[in-house]
Amino acid sequence: MVQLSLNEIYSETQKALRSLGIDWGIAKDCAVLTRWLALHNQYFLGSILKTADMYKNKKISISIQENNFKKPLSANLMGMLLVEYIAAKKIVWEGFLYNPKFILAAMNIIAIEQKINMELRDKNNKVIAFTNNKKLYADIIQLKTSNGYFFLSLEINNKINKLDKFVTPSAQNTSYVNEKCWNKLKAMAFETYVPESETSISGAGY
């Protein structure tokens, strides 16, 4: 295991996603959500690596128009945009989500920053997460599945919800991850670097 700072997780994730050609804004969103998961002691690294693999093989979608069981919408990449879209349109969205845990991160962040509360329901319409007063209440176990059908909307009525567990940040400012997986992510990030040229060397302090 290797101990990492949250900023390392953020910056290496963003770079790794850029190595796949993912747009800057989307890579940043995903890095933000990943940092949130790390801060809240949630597993993230395997999800990112798997997402990268599926993105390369076109097995996940980044379009709400195109998502189905075989090609679910990537919550890692599009989670932040999706919650903003639903909040702005004030609609109920339903569809297949890959790695729904990342939606929790987006729900909590928009609740804190824009005071917008949302709720996530499973295919049986059971509330499995909602936000209220900047806190995220969630039954994390229900989100272990990597792919599922969900309903996402503005929060309707939290009083009827039975969820009383809210997800809190870790007291630590570090995260322990599998070193081999971390090195794989770093190797992806390394692909965004460029060998130095004569131009950059000349006059740059050499």
């Binding site: 290797v2 101990q3 990492l4 700072s5 949250l6 900023n7 390392e8 770079k15 850029r18 747009d23 800057w24 804004g25 989307i26 940043k28 969103d29 933000v32 980044i62 379009s63 709400i64 599009m78 932040m80 945009l81 999706l82 919650v83 903003e84 879209y85 909040a87 702005a88 349109k89 987006a106 962040i109 928009i110 920053e113 824009q114 917008i116 630590q172 400012n173 570090t174 390394f190 965004t192 670097y193 460029v194 060998p195 130095e196 040229s197 004569e198 131009t199 950059s200 000349s202 006059g203 740059a204 302090g205 050499y206």
Partner: protein
Amino acid sequence: MINHIKKSKYIENKIPLRDPSKVMKLERLGSFHQSRLSFSRQLINEIVQNKWIFNISEWNINNDGIGHAVINSICNKNIFSLVIFSHSIQDEERSDRVIAEKWDMTFSLFKGKPSKKEITHMSENLKIQELGRHLPKQLTLSRANKSVRIFEKVLDALSNGRQPDHNLINDIGYLVRTTAVYGNGKFGIGDFSKMQSEHFLRKPFQAEMLTVYLIRYFSIELINFLSKVKGGLKAVKLSEIISKHIGVGNATGLGMAPFLFNHQELLHQWIYAKETALSRVLSLDKISIDKQSDIFNLIEQAYQYSVQWKVSDPIQYNKIKILNSDLQVILKNINTKVILNQSYPLKKLTNFFKDDISIETEEILHSIFLEPFGNIIDDLINNMSVIEKNTVSINFNVKEIIEMIEKNYSWALDIDLKKDEENWFFWYTSQAKLEPRLGIRKKDKGFDKELPFDIPHQIQKGMVILRSLPNDMLGTEAMLNYPELRNIIRRIIINNVSPYSEIQDNLIGFNSKPIDILRCKLSFFGASKYDPKSDLWTRITLFQGAPLPHQLKEKDACNWLFPSLPIYN
């Protein structure tokens, strides 16, 4: 005009803030000077106000200057320790390069007092810097080399019972020069966000500033120690006046430039604080005789400072020459003292000289104007940090975003991007240094991995897409359908409420000078004596003129805007 000036409890702003289209140009940002709002000044104010205590708790440095030491800084119940390792290296191994593999000294600012086990860990990892794994209790990571131009000469003088030549001290200004000061989570060190309960870390770059301040203290202690070892009874310590004039050098390049792009809201807060401060002092309808005298004395000090500001770069040399001449004209003009005694003195003084002075002079005058008025501007320091938002405001539709572009990004729309000179450079992260660098598009490989600093290009491309969409489509929907818009729409919406958040020049254009970005950031650090070595990197000095720990109780401990040393010819 910025229309959301917060009302100060001290003074009503009558003079509007300068428009971002004037302030956020590279040429002006690259003329900024240190001011009383700068972070090094904030640190010294914090240290003085809260009566910090400093002590050297470990000094295991041998007679060759090799070993380790720990300097504690104590504020209330908090202790921050600078852990220092002093190494033996060959002259030819000493380099300003950021990825040099050996340094004379390596450092880390540690939260609390390190245990023996933690010191052992740091002894193995600090010396290899980026290649090591560091502890979450470490707040910074740094290294420095002795200045080959001065260190041995000063040691020689002191060990022979003499003070070093003032000219030599003034020409260099430091005994050691850092080549990097990393903070906030790099290479496993602690994230600042989790430590913001510590009062002083809430202000920007305070951990880095404390690190540099303690490095300076160590460099002076080290040379006094070594002179005693070498000279025995005949050795003397560096005089008070010279010690105070010794800062810490820093060689800094493109590595720090992206920070200002990546932290739009923070950039806005810094500039907004400074512009608000300027507006407040320009709005003063009269100033006391004492303050008039302070302003005049500061102009004289700035003149002395400019005389002692020596550089080899021809562009900066000419700027300093003009600055020098402008300040002389202002000092000699009989109207200067007359205007200072009139109503709205600082605004009138600005207007009186503005057509005859350079931007460099205009900006140094602004630093001078802020200096005596801590009582009406120092509250702004508390607004120079920000918790940056990760979401994008959901309230705007396509029409409104287009209007924001037309209003705030006309500078970007006006650039003819078909011209070769507007597509000259690209920014990338270098494989060798893992640091941002510049390449030439038509010559160098790798522009497919370009960093997104081509704001005018993104604006113009974004505008084409946005104009093809229905006016009432929500911004979030536009971004969802066109993810390539996400980055630039985020910037546009941030800029709409934080108007000083965007540098209003084409940063990949032939005429763009990255050194201007560095200078802007360094001015907020409180750097002095900018000594550009090209358009891409500069040497600077930090904490020159600042009080040393034993000088903190002196009456004028916090007044060190333009340090100069008496020169005896």
